[in-house]
């Protein structure tokens, strides 16, 4: 019998997401992804200084704390023709690179792991057997019987207080948890270790970016961190050494903890390599330049798309193929809601038609109406998934040497074909693979930076085009960035030195999007279909697939269109 269920709030994500799903005979047959918050920043940017836009848009998200700043300064640079010096490109790569690595580890251990790891089961683990398991997959030093016993005792003491705090009322003992107690205890130990690790390695942002969250050295045209081997207040050899040490620490944890654990527990969940594939179209616009004025096609990650069924055929991408729909989103387009608007023509006029709060016992989803604050971006009128999986699938199809080597290794260890990537498990594995690759790449980039400083290059900024008086009266530009959660683009139009129009098309908007006018579901919605649900009252399986995308709803609902239109109407039923 069909039954509709609601999960609201979805926890262990950024932002406010509600999932409604129809369950029939223990399997999801339909699903709706619903963003329940809007901040309206699109109305706020118009008329402000384009050089300030990075600071504002950075506040879309404090989890993806570098990504909007990056896309924003690139949009301004594209618009007014700034050339970014190599020092700034490499410092930005390091800021983006460590952001990706740290974010992926936090996602895996703190936001996703509890979907797979049963903390309560860890209490009955044998610490000696846990040590043997840990030592069989990695030579990471924190793996002794004494160590795991101490972790277990700490958790026991916590549980003994009978006040479980954030771990209360969860789905412990759910039949979908498959790990033996020892693998669970290992996961709990890593959860705690990763909490300390994430605090340390992100200090790269403090050294290069002044602080984290929300680093503050971004500049349109460069970076505000001075570099000079002979100055005390600039990035010098000592600070580069500090950064390098942190990057080595970051890489070691990924190589010796994250990846071995992922490979150790994945075999228990191989059925999830056949669940959660979703739309199976993958899109990336490439990132990580390694030379001044480099073409996008020569970046370390290259742009490309792979369409469902066409793997391993990767095609080039075009920025003009992106359009957004609001047929099922709480916005109104002046020319009718069923048309798609390219980012340059984007409109963001709220038109709330959902239930009036409080509505705890009502459904929000509606086949025929609007049901989310998230818009529906489409590429050539087709829903695409963005994110680590998209980047790894496209890179693999393109024959990217580093990506291909690690993906093949992982597939071989799991005894799985490449098609296993198109799944919930594949999405989670791809994130780990990407963290590994970037944690290695960071070390290359820091060495390139040191080399460049050694050549006497101390340029950090295109000062010639800093002052708006050097800009054309009217200009437009686009900035792309591959954020941890996927392809991000910011689109800016500048008039007389002020922002005339600004729009962001965000990774979680691609992935969390509702249906479009053709009724095509967004990637979350499509991925949930076919997911088994053992107990509709404890929808652990929904969390697994949704979390595998690493949702970031604050980002998703901050589409920008700084035209300064007045809000005309908000319908409250």
């Amino acid at each position: 019998m069909a039954k509709k269920i609601v999960v609201d709030p979805i926890t262990r994500i950024e932002g406010h997401l509600r999932i409604e799903a129809q369950v029939e005979d223990g399997v999801i047959t339909d699903a709706w992804s619903i963003g329940t918050m809007w901040r309206g920043i699109e109305k706020i940017l118009v008329g402000r200084d384009p050089r300030d836009a990075w600071y504002w848009t950075q506040r879309f998200c404090g989890v993806c704390t570098t990504v909007h700043a990056m896309a924003s300064i690139r949009a301004v640079e594209d618009a007014v023709g700034m050339t970014v010096p190599l020092n700034a490109e490499l410092i930005r790569n390091l800021i983006m690179g460590i952001q990706n690595v740290q974010d992926h580890v936090i996602h895996f251990y703190h936001l996703h792991a509890l979907d797979w790891v049963d903390i309560v089961s860890a209490l009955s683990a044998d610490p000696g057997a846990t040590a043997r398991l840990a030592q069989s997959v990695s030579d990471w030093p924190k793996s002794s019987k004494t160590y795991f016993k101490a972790v277990q005792d700490r958790v026991k003491a916590f549980v003994g207080t009978k006040r479980l705090g954030p771990f209360a009322n969860a789905y412990w003992g759910h039949p979908a948890y498959k790990l033996p107690p020892e693998a669970n205890l290992m996961g709990v130990a890593h959860y705690l270790e990763a909490l300390d690790w994430q605090r340390e390695v992100i200090k790269v942002h403090a050294i290069l970016g002044s602080k984290n969250p929300h680093p503050q050295t971004f500049l349109a045209g460069g970076i505000s961190l001075p570099v000079d081997p002979d100055a005390q207040n600039a990035l010098n050899a000592d600070k580069i050494a500090q950064v390098r040490e942190l990057l080595v620490q970051a890489n070691a944890f990924v190589e010796k903890v994250y990846i071995p654990y992922l490979l150790a527990v994945a075999p228990f969940y191989l059925d999830w390599a056949g669940i959660g594939g979703g739309v199976q179209n993958y899109l990336t616009f490439g990132d990580f330049p390694t030379a001044e004025g480099q073409r996008r096609e020569d970046y370390w990650l290259k742009p490309g798309q792979v369409r469902s069924g066409a793997f391993p055929d990767a095609k080039p991408v075009r920025a003009e193929a992106i359009a957004e729909y609001v047929t099922h989103s709480w916005y109104r387009y002046a020319g009718g809601d069923d048309q798609g608007l390219a980012p340059w023509q984007g409109e963001t006029e709220p038109d709330y038609t959902g239930p009036k709060p409080p509505y705890p016992d009502k459904f929000v989803s509606d086949e025929d109406a609007k049901y989310s604050w998230v818009k529906a971006p489409r590429y050539e009128d087709t829903p695409f998934e963005v994110g680590p999986l998209a980047r790894m699938v496209v890179g693999y199809a393109q024959g990217h040497p580093e990506i291909k080597a690690v993906v093949d290794l992982v597939l071989q260890k799991l005894g799985a074909p490449a098609s296993a990537l198109f799944s919930t498990l594949g999405r989670t594995a791809a994130r780990g693979i990407e963290a590994l690759l970037l944690s290695r790449q960071n070390l290359e980039w820091v060495d390139l930076l040191a080399e460049n400083l050694g050549r006497g290059d101390t340029r950090i900024q295109d000062n010639a085009r800093w002052d708006p008086s050097a800009w054309p009266a009217e200009a437009e530009g686009v900035g792309f960035h591959e954020a941890p959660r996927g392809m991000l683009s910011h689109w800016i139009r500048i008039k007389n030195g002020e922002i005339a129009n600004y729009q962001a098309v965000v990774p979680s908007t691609w992935n969390a999007s509702p249906r479009d006018p053709k009724g095509q579901r967004g990637p979350y919605e499509q991925a949930l279909i076919g997911t088994p649900i053992a107990d509709p009252d404890q929808p652990l399986e929904i969390l697994r697939t949704i979390h595998s995308f690493d949702p970031c709803l604050a980002c998703a609902v901050h589409l920008l269109d700084a035209r300064g239109r007045e809000i005309t109407r908000v319908q409250v039923l």
Binding site: T36, G40, G47, R59, N169, Y171, K211
Partner: protein
């Protein structure tokens, strides 16, 4: 301070710490650090220790509203104590959507249960602005408007701590023209016991210090008229700035990457808002003291001031129209001018409002 094994209170503390897997040395180190952040005499460390070790861990409900989770991320970077210690050892963080294992109605149950069981005793931590327009439709959690959630949770709390500029003053979404009618908690609920820890994001040591202050003394720390604790917001960035000597000497960065920039000269001409911003960044810094904006070559943007989004911008222009202010005047005159201007801004909140209104009018005029 020496350890006294015959003091029954200390022995109990020791046993408690042992049961939590915390060694005494690191615990006392933490208490001393907190005492220092709070600017208390060192003798308070013992009192702090006893308070945080009290066996009934205070319950915490941490709300996420119109926000970016940057303040939670900042909290995860805390080192004295660490986030893990706070969650497992010092507090009972009963509701916090970013880290909770459960989801959906199970977490709604937890929130309800916590509010009933610890009514009037729990601490509410709020992250994010509150959209008040149009019946609250711009922000809902579990089908309840954020206005209702905040009113209920903060209204029944022993104290509310607003982390970050959004919950303190509405934040970025409250910038003109404030499309969702976003406000801070203090504006929605003016009479509740509340402390604001603005910043974009909040700096973690200021949160841990505030919590420990509350546990130790049973009260919220003394605040200024904007409800910001004096221990963290009692002085201007400019007064504690490591580059102040260059300001006084008239040595300014003129272009990004110029010799003055590389030598750490004053960033005032590049738009630094330190002279009008009250915050302890220069002392506490960020990420265990490894950096802060001015130290790394970018000006302060004034993120701990209400309405800074509208009143402090643009980022890269010199502070405008501050009476008596200007690099050409002498250092003494400058200092007096800024102090007068800041005092006026703090005393009369309406000043900021009128500047904000002027900014709106200017834009509409365009």
């Amino acid at each position: 301070m020496a350890h006294d094994p015959h003091n029954p209170r200390e022995t109990a503390l020791e046993q408690y710490l042992e049961s939590r897997g915390v060694d005494r040395r690191s615990f006392l180190k933490f208490c001393t650090a907190v005492t220092a952040t709070l600017a208390l005499p060192a003798s308070f460390a013992r009192k702090v220790a006893a308070a945080v070790a009290a066996d009934d861990r205070p319950s915490v409900i941490w709300l996420h509203l119109q926000e970016c989770t940057g303040d939670t991320e900042s909290f995860l970077r805390a080192s004295r104590p660490t986030a893990a210690e706070v969650i497992l050892d010092y507090l009972s963080v009963d509701y916090h959507e970013t880290i909770m294992a459960a989801a959906g109605h199970q977490v709604e149950e937890v929130r309800r249960h916590t509010m009933e069981q610890y009514k009037g005793k729990y601490i509410a931590v709020v992250e994010g602005g509150i959209p008040t327009k149009d019946g609250g439709v711009y922000g809902c959690i579990g089908g309840h408007s954020m206005v209702d959630v905040v009113t209920e949770v903060c209204g029944n709390a022993a104290a509310t701590i607003c982390v970050g500029t959004c919950s303190a003053y509405g934040g970025i979404q409250a910038a003109a023209p404030n499309p969702t009618g976003a406000v801070g908690v203090g504006e929605l609920l003016p009479s509740i016991p509340l402390v604001n820890l603005p910043g974009c994001p909040l700096n973690a040591p200021n949160l841990t210090a505030t919590i420990v202050h509350f546990l130790t003394f049973g009260t919220l720390p003394r605040t200024d008229s904007l409800k910001r604790p004096l221990f963290a917001y009692g002085k201007r960035i400019h007064d504690n700035c490591e580059r102040r000597a260059h300001f006084d000497a008239g040595q300014f960065v003129e272009r990004w990457g110029d010799p003055g920039h590389r030598q750490g000269w004053c960033l005032y001409k590049m738009g630094c808002k330190g002279p009008a911003t009250s915050h302890n960044c220069p002392q506490v810094r960020w990420n265990d003291g490894l950096g802060w904006p001015v130290g790394q070559g970018h000006g302060c943007v004034g993120c701990s001031e209400p309405g800074f989004w509208d009143t402090m911008g643009p980022l890269y222009e010199r502070l405008p129209n501050v009476p008596g202010f200007g690099v050409e005047t002498t250092a003494t005159k400058v200092g007096l001018g800024i102090m007068a201007a800041t005092a006026a801004g703090v005393a009369v909140h309406g000043v900021a409002k009128s500047i904000q209104l002027r900014a709106v009018e200017k834009k509409e005029g365009n």
